[in-house]
């Protein structure tokens, strides 16, 4: 009996949390526009993520080049390495790995920041002074997140391709022209690059929304904020991977 009622209360809290998340998104959407803080937030959310994105992108590209080479060279198709790497990066790895890194680097920071603002009652203080926290705290961060992630994903892809180029042309001796020409012949802008960008945009909304909501919804204690931060990274990663499957099935049928 007790277990059954526990299950019921879990389901109720799950659905009420989903409902609150949607109300939260609506509040951000309908809050007045204040772009003054957006630039500053792009710095914290986007620019500070640059090192991890660029370094991981380069190494992911290099590893893809190396592994692809080992497989393709057996079939005498090592010249197609560029195609393999570019398609993998633009379609899947760029948006997905970019979004997961972004959740770990910036999503967690957003949750902690907003959670601490709530725990130290800064949000309540703002409201008392007649300043709408949705407008001045949440909205700039939300917009900054949506702008930053697609940008970061594009940089991730570009650096990844360069990393693969460095390994395959520089170290493994694949022909430079064949590398680029096959890539250009097989990667389509409207299909692969644009779909990757759409994915990145959707992931950016999901990750930023989750990060801000969980921070705002955190229990205002030290444990509550740390739990919310963990939840942001875990939930964001799961949502991104799950959505990626659905989006891939819809885009590349």
């Amino acid at each position: 009996m007790a277990r059954l009622s526990k299950l019921g209360s879990n389901v109720i809290s799950l659905f009420s949390s989903l409902g609150r998340a949607q109300v939260f998104l609506w509040h951000i959407w309908s809050a007045g526009i204040s772009f003054s803080g957006v630039v500053k937030q792009i710095y914290f959310v986007g620019v500070l993520s640059l090192p991890i994105i660029l370094v991981s992108g380069f190494f992911v590209g290099m590893v893809l080049g190396l592994q692809g080479y080992y497989t393709l060279v057996d079939f005498g198709a090592a010249d197609s390495l560029g195609v393999l790497v570019a398609l993998t990066l633009t379609r899947e790895l760029g948006p997905v790995v970019g979004a997961i890194l972004f959740a770990g680097r910036s999503g967690s920071a957003l949750t902690t920041e907003v959670g601490l603002m709530k725990a130290t009652e800064q949000l309540a203080a703002l409201e008392l002074m007649g300043i709408d926290p949705m407008r001045f705290v949440m909205r700039p961060r939300f917009i900054a997140g949506i702008i930053s992630l697609p940008f970061l994903v594009m940089m991730f892809v570009a650096v990844g391709v360069l990393g693969a180029w460095f390994v395959s042309v520089g170290l493994l001796g694949i022909d430079d022209g064949a590398f680029w020409s096959q890539m250009q012949a097989k990667v389509s802008w409207s299909n692969d690059v644009l779909n990757g960008l759409v994915k990145a945009l959707i992931f950016s909304v999901v990750v930023t929304w989750l990060a801000l909501f969980l921070g705002n919804d955190a229990i205002p204690t030290a444990e509550g904020v740390s739990g919310a931060t963990t939840a942001t990274v875990v939930y964001s990663s799961l949502w991104v991977l799950g959505l990626d499957f659905i989006l891939t099935a819809m885009m590349f049928d």
Binding site: V39, M155, V161
Partner: protein, 152 residues
């Protein structure tokens, strides 16, 4: 303070735009021609197989140029292939022959040039008259099967 943020966000945006341009121009779709020290030679092939623009043109295994535009000549119904030759290799005999070869069995198609013995050299906008088409595996197999049938 806000200047610092603006400077970094500007750099961030510039990097993002550079990446998008790189991906659009270099990784996918079209390519701005590199121009420079090149001269053009034309060749007509009966069959080019899977030859792609920017494939290497080699002589004795050394890359001497890149394949440019490939189009169909509507009068002879042959493929017209533009060779963008490196100007470093200006003195290539007039009667050089070009064949479409394959790197490995499944590898990429490329052009192999075999020099002739003429005293005249290929000029800009010149034509390589002796060409050998790409070998299409299906044709080869069907010929082989036909021959073995006749022998019986």
């Amino acid at each position: 303070m806000s200047n610092k943020f603006e400077w970094w966000v500007g750099l961030f945006t510039a990097l993002a735009i550079a990446s998008i341009l790189f991906i659009s121009l270099r990784v996918s779709n079209f390519q701005v021609s590199s121009g420079g020290d090149q001269y053009k030679v034309y060749a007509y092939f009966d069959e080019i197989g899977g030859l792609k623009p920017r494939a290497p043109i080699t002589m004795a295994g050394v890359v001497v140029g890149r394949v440019g535009e490939i189009s169909l000549d509507v009068e002879s119904f042959q493929a017209k292939v533009v060779f963008n030759m490196n100007s470093k290799y200006k003195k290539i005999p007039d009667d050089t022959s070009a064949s479409i070869l394959t790197a490995g069995i499944l590898g990429e198609k490329y052009i192999g040039l075999t020099p002739g013995g003429a005293e005249e050299f290929l000029e800009n906008e010149g034509i390589v008259s002796q060409t050998q088409s790409a070998i299409v595996l299906e044709n080869l197999i069907s010929k082989f099967l036909l021959n073995s049938d006749e022998e019986k």
